[in-house]
Each structure stands twice: as structure tokens, then as C-alpha cells.
């Protein structure tokens, strides 16, 4: 399906990451925003509200982030593509309904503009400290899809991608950005509507009294209907059968919850997107996502100039994690260098998927500026000098 031209601001613009995200949402067909104000995500909401009347979108500012995501889920069941935008403190409050969204298999997009934490932290300082929370923050077993943009253009592109994935897999999708990318202003090219591919909601089309809200189709995803279309369906956050009725036994727990995991795991090859540069002959590969990818690519070029064969693996999809590809590359390289604006989150996955075949050097990144490459270059030098594989993540040390 092609994008509805009503939401597509075709042309070349200079936009902040946040404004590009709002435009991406409109282009993707998002017509409902639930919000609770928080720095550094505010400009997404402001742009959305400003343009909502002409696009024909609706919004509501709720009383907290708990209610925001509840409202977004309710809105999604009316057939409107729905999203919310927040930052760490809000994401924490959303964990309850992230779980409900997973259990009710409700498409929606959660944009998290990460800021330094814990607690209130430093609202304006970029960070990547919520990556594991997005993956594991709600209780129980589930898989999640999370994307990470590194520029305003990617904020636009990946917001659309997030909506498409959420409809395809009937799952909440997290767009994990940060204060740096959100406030960066760059050129953003918005294509004509007919060039934007949109994943339509997968609806049930059968008899009204035969609808089963959780009966999986061939693609593993149950079909949806809208509130008000006369199906009189029921859904529950309790463990349920195909009818959406609660069933409290072991067998149904498996029947219900395993597919929540496998509907993602069985399709990782379709879902996962990475961008590789110069990995072919690389001795060292920088694995990065979001804002740190900008420094990673620069560091790669600088290292290549000084004669070190460095490549880059940029994660577009952080969750599910591209474990197969990382495992393959681990056998070929001496080391992975992983910059993150946190104290080590995605690096744990890199280490796990290396299976001891490559050194993993973690670079806590951003203190000297997000695009500064000094620490990365030192870590790369350290990586090529190491003559054996350590069994632990090597913490990059400024003194070395």
C-alpha cells in the first residue's frame, strides 16, 4: 500500500530529528498521538499537534505515561495507527502497558528519546541507557522490535519502518533515539507519497460471529478488527485462547505466550536490518547504533587512513539482535569495538554472540562529545595490539 498523501510533506527540508519523527509518523499513517510532556521528546508532540488538523489526526495529553500508553492501545483498536513519544522516566511508566500491548498484540509505536539517567538524570544530555529496558523492562516473556536512528533522515525513515513492522507483526515497536539525534538539524528528504511503502493493518474478513481475535494466520499473526465494526470480540491481558477468553492452565500459557516470542524469532531474517561498511577485510569492526554510529563511521575512516583495517556494523534493528551475523563476523575479526552512551548494554549481546571468538572492547561514549572519535581510535589501537582473546568484555581505559 502507498502512503496517504495527506500526511506526506514531500520535498527537501531542514528538520530536527524530532520534527522529522513527527513527519515520519504522519507519512506512515499515524493518526493518533497520546502524550505526556517530557524533555527531550517534546518537539515531536508539538509538531504533531501543529499539523494534526490539516492531516486529520487526533491527540490527547494524558495525566501520566501510564495512561498515555493505555490510551494509545485503546486508540489502536479503533483502527487508527497510534503512537506515543517519551523519554526514560516516561518509558519506565510505560512498561505496564508495553506488556499489555504485547499480550493484546496491539500495533503501536513508542518513541523514546533517551536522556541521561537514572531517575531524572540530565534531561538534555543524550544517552542510550534505556536499551535493555526496552528489551526486558516489562515482566514476563516476550520479544520486542526496536530500531535506532542516527540522523534526522533516519528519524523520518525509521518511524515509518517502525509503524510498518508493528502492523506486520501486531506488536508494539520502540524507536530508540536520543537527545542528540532528536535535536540535530539536518537535511531530510521526504519522498512523494506514492514512493512510500506502507504496511496496511491485516484485517479479518470472515463471518462476524466466527471471529477469533488470536487465531494465527499462516504468517503467524492473528487478524484484527476495529471496535465498532460489529464483531463483539473480547480480549484480555490474562493468558487466553484464540477466542480471547482467559484460560488458566499450563497448556494455554504455552499456547498463548510461545507465539508472542516465536512470531518475532521465526522472522528475524525479515525483521533485522544492519548496515555494514568495509567489513570484508576488517580486523576490527565497530558495532554501533543510533547517535554513536556517527562517530563510529568517522573513526572507521580515520583508522583506515592510518592503515588499520576497520569496518562498521550499524544496527538499524537493535532488537531482535542480529546474533547470526555477529557470530559469523566474530570468527573473522580480531575484535569488536562497541561504543555506547551507557555503561554497557548492547555490548553484552555482542559478547554473547561472539562466543569467545573475538575480543569485545566496550567504549563508554559521548563524554567528549557524541561525534568525537578520540576514545574510539584509542580503543581500535588497543584492539589490534591484543594478541589473545580475553574471556571478558574489555573495558576501554583512557590511560591505555
Amino acid at each position: 500500500m502507498k502512503a496517504d498523501p495527506k500526511g506526506v510533506l514531500t520535498g527537501s527540508h531542514t528538520l530536527t530529528g524530532n520534527h522529522a519523527c513527527a513527519e515520519g509518523a504522519f507519512a506512515a499513517g499515524c493518526r493518533f498521538l497520546g502524550l505526556y510532556p517530557i524533555v527531550p521528546s517534546l518537539e515531536i508532540s508539538e509538531r504533531f499537534l501543529e499539523r494534526a488538523p490539516e492531516v486529520g489526526a487526533t491527540f490527547i495529553q494524558m495525566e501520566d505515561e501510564v495512561s498515555v500508553l493505555a490510551a494509545v492501545l485503546g486508540a489502536s483498536w479503533t483502527g487508527k495507527k497510534s503512537m506515543t513519544v517519551t523519554s526514560g522516566p516516561g518509558l519506565s511508566l510505560m512498561m505496564e502497558h508495553l506488556g499489555l500491548g504485547i499480550m493484546l498484540e496491539t500495533p503501536c509505536v513508542i518513541v523514546d528519546i533517551q536522556r541521561a539517567g537514572p531517575a531524572l538524570g540530565m534531561p538534555g544530555r543524550p544517552a542510550q541507557g534505556d536499551m535493555m529496558q526496552a528489551r526486558w523492562g516489562s515482566h514476563g516473556d516476550y520479544e520486542i522490535i526496536a530500531l535506532s536512528p542516527s540522523s534526522p533522515q533516519e528519524m523520518f525513515d525509521y518511524t515509518i519502518k517502525a509503524f510498518n513492522l508493528s502492523e506486520r507483526y501486531r506488536i508494539p515497536v520502540a524507536l530508540m533515539s536520543d537527545a542528540y539525534v532528536a535535536h540535530l538539524q539536518e537535511k531530510v528528504v521526504i519522498p512523494p507519497a506514492e514512493e512510500i511503502e506502507i504496511e496496511p493493518r491485516r484485517y479479518y474478513k470472515g463471518a462476524k460471529d466466527k471471529y477469533l481475535p488470536f487465531k494465527r494466520d499462516k504468517d503467524f499473526v492473528p487478524r484484527m478488527v476495529n471496535i465498532g465494526d460489529g464483531y463483539k470480540f473480547h480480549v484480555t491481558g490474562l493468558t487466553h485462547d484464540d477466542r480471547g477468553y482467559p484460560v488458566m492452565n499450563e497448556e494455554c500459557q504455552e499456547y498463548n505466550v510461545h507465539p508472542l516470542v516465536w512470531k518475532v524469532r521465526n522472522y528475524v531474517d525479515e525483521i533485522i536490518e544492519v548496515q555494514e561498511a568495509e567489513t570484508e577485510d576488517a580486523e576490527v569492526i565497530i558495532i554501533s547504533y543510533g547517535a554513536t554510529s556517527r562517530a563510529a563511521l568517522k573513526a572507521m575512516e580515520q583508522a583506515r587512513k592510518s592503515g588499520i583495517k576497520v569496518g562498521s556494523l550499524k544496527l538499524v534493528t537493535v532488537w531482535p539482535f542480529p546474533e547470526k551475523r555477529v557470530a559469523e563476523l566474530a570468527k573473522k575479526v580480531k575484535a569488536f569495538v562497541v561504543p555506547e552512551m551507557n555503561f554497557g548494554q548492547v555490548v553484552l549481546e555482542v559478547e554473547r554472540c561472539s562466543y569467545g571468538n573475538a575480543n569485545v572492547i566496550f567504549v563508554p561514549h559521548g563524554e567528549n562529545g557524541v561525534e568525537n572519535t578520540d576514545d574510539l581510535l584509542s580503543a581500535i589501537k588497543q584492539a589490534v595490539q591484543a594478541d589473545k582473546v580475553e574471556s571478558v568484555i574489555i573495558e576501554f581505559n583512557k590511560g591505555v
Binding site: F32, S67, A71, T78, G228, K232, V235
Partner: protein
């Protein structure tokens, strides 16, 4: 992962001989009976009253959605044959707000317990009332957290026993109509499950109201409230309501506190007009745009 046959069964209607159809079959999920509620519980009466009110108010069952939170009353959404959602503890009003704002053609009913709506969901309750979201909230008040086995609720009367107030409740309870009224609800009533006819009338009236309406339904909980407080069974509770309810329409909601085994004042206390959220939203929209969204 292979789908197991038992779970993919087709929706079945309970077989009924000709002429023996349950009068509310078209509004209840008969394939889910028997329900989970204990003998002497009043929630079933509240559901029956609601189903009658739907018919009385002539509401199109295809254009109404019912949302419940968690608790014994939270199970109501699962037994009513409408687009129905069993959500999270305390959040049905927030969930329903999303439905209503995203599609103003849908009438939203929230059916939940006092703990769900007034304790963990208290903030959503007052804000939905303030916004005047078009929504009917049916709050079944059994003075206790029943689903979890009888803990103190925000409505437990002072000195009443609960498993978490073994020496008697030391917290004063909320007066639900007073919160609803002072937060901006346009329709506020209270009945007990003994007052079925009046309850049906109130629910039907509230269903037709534009804006945030609250109907509190005082209900016996024989299993967890009456037993620990030695108040007898469901019938004794009904008898208590019969002897101790005073109907005072229009009573100032300040005066509606309920003590331990004290008089319970019932009636319709608030019935007023105030622009609803969607009315104000549409006004704003036509001011900025000269266009308007669908009226709900």
C-alpha cells in the same frame, strides 16, 4: 509451534431448546457461563441491570465498547457481548479515553471495582471527570479488594476488618460520588444491588448522557467482606440495604460518607450539563481550521 485443536474451537453458543433462550443471550457471552462470581456476590446483579439499561436506552450494541480493569468486577467485560476489553489494574478509564478520542462514534462504558477505579486508578478517574470524557463509569463498590482475597480498599469503612486490617481499618474511606462530583462528572448516582429497578433507570439515563457519568453500585461480598466482619450472607446484606438505605435525590455529595454498617444514602445526586471533551475539541478544531471532526 503447532496449534492445538482444543484452542482453535469455533465459538459456540450454549445449546438452548426452543423457547428456553436466556432473555439476555444477545448481550451476554453465554459460552463463558458459568461465571466466576461467588454465591451472594452482587456483581451479577449489576451486570443484569446494565444489560437491561442497554436495551432500555436503545443503544446500538455495535457502537458501544466496554472496558474493565482487574478484579472481580474487572471480569465484567469478559461476560458482556460487546467489543470488550479486560485491561490492566486501574487503567480502564485511560484505555477507554483512547477509544473515545480516536473514534467519537463509540460509546465507552467502564465497568470496574472501587479498588481498581479509585485506588490504583484514582488519578485517571479524576482526570477523565475533569476533561468530561464521554464515558459511563459503573463502579461496583463492595468495600473490599475481593479478587485478591479481602484486603483493605479505598472504600473500606473505618474500623471494618479486612485481611490487611486485622485490628480494624484505620484509614477513612473515599466518598465516591463526592470525588466524581467535585472532579466534574455530569451525572452521579448511587444505588445498591437491591435497588435494581432504580439502578436500571439510572444506568439508562447515564448511558444517554453526554459527558462523564458515574454510577456507584453498592454490592455485597459475602465471601470476603461480610464473612470477616460477621455480617451474614448475601441475603443478610440485602436485608441490611433494605433497612438502612435512604433515598435522597439531589443530596449534596459531601454528605454521602459510608461508615461501618451505617445508613447508606442512595439516589441521583448530580445531573448537569457541561461541554464534553469532544465538544471542546471540535470547537478548537473548527476555530483553527474551519473544519470539524465527527460528532460523537
Amino acid at each position: 509451534m503447532k496449534a492445538k485443536e482444543t484452542k482453535t474451537q469455533e465459538i459456540q453458543s450454549v445449546p438452548s431448546k426452543k423457547g428456553e433462550i436466556h432473555p439476555m443471550e444477545n448481550l451476554l457471552r453465554m459460552d463463558r457461563m458459568p461465571h466466576i462470581w461467588c454465591p451472594s456476590c452482587g456483581i451479577g446483579l449489576a451486570v443484569t441491570a446494565f444489560a437491561s439499561a442497554l436495551e432500555k436506552a436503545n443503544i446500538d450494541p455495535n457502537k458501544i465498547s466496554i472496558v474493565s480493569g482487574i478484579g472481580c468486577t474487572g471480569r465484567v467485560a469478559g461476560y458482556v457481548k460487546l467489543d470488550s476489553f479486560h485491561t490492566t489494574h486501574g487503567r480502564p478509564i485511560a484505555f477507554g479515553t483512547g477509544i473515545r478520542v480516536a473514534n467519537p462514534k463509540i460509546k465507552v462504558v467502564v465497568f470496574s471495582g472501587d479498588g481498581d477505579l479509585i485506588a490504583i486508578g484514582g488519578n485517571h478517574f479524576i482526570h477523565a471527570a475533569r476533561r468530561n470524557i464521554d464515558m459511563l463509569v459503573v463502579c461496583v463498590n463492595n468495600f473490599i479488594y475481593a479478587m485478591t482475597g479481602g484486603q483493605v480498599a479505598p472504600t473500606t469503612p473505618l474500623a471494618a476488618y479486612a485481611t490487611t486490617s486485622p485490628y480494624g481499618c484505620v484509614e477513612p474511606p473515599f466518598n465516591i460520588p463526592y470525588i466524581a462530583d467535585s472532579s466534574g462528572a455530569v451525572y452521579v448516582a448511587r444505588w445498591t444491588t437491591l435497588h435494581i429497578r432504580r439502578l436500571i433507570n439510572s444506568l439508562a439515563e447515564a448511558l444517554q448522557k453526554k459527558g462523564f457519568s458515574v454510577v456507584e453500585v453498592i454490592s455485597p461480598c459475602g465471601m470476603y467482606y461480610s464473612r470477616i466482619n460477621k455480617l451474614g450472607d448475601g441475603l443478610d446484606m440485602m436485608k441490611f440495604y433494605h433497612d438502612n438505605v435512604e433515598i435522597r435525590h439531589g443530596e449534596d455529595t459531601k454528605n454521602l460518607d459510608i461508615g461501618f454498617q451505617t445508613k447508606i444514602i442512595c439516589g441521583k445526586f448530580v445531573d448537569r450539563e457541561r461541554p464534553s471533551y469532544m465538544e471542546r475539541y471540535n470547537q478548537w478544531l473548527s476555530d483553527v481550521k474551519g473544519g470539524s471532526r465527527d460528532e460523537g
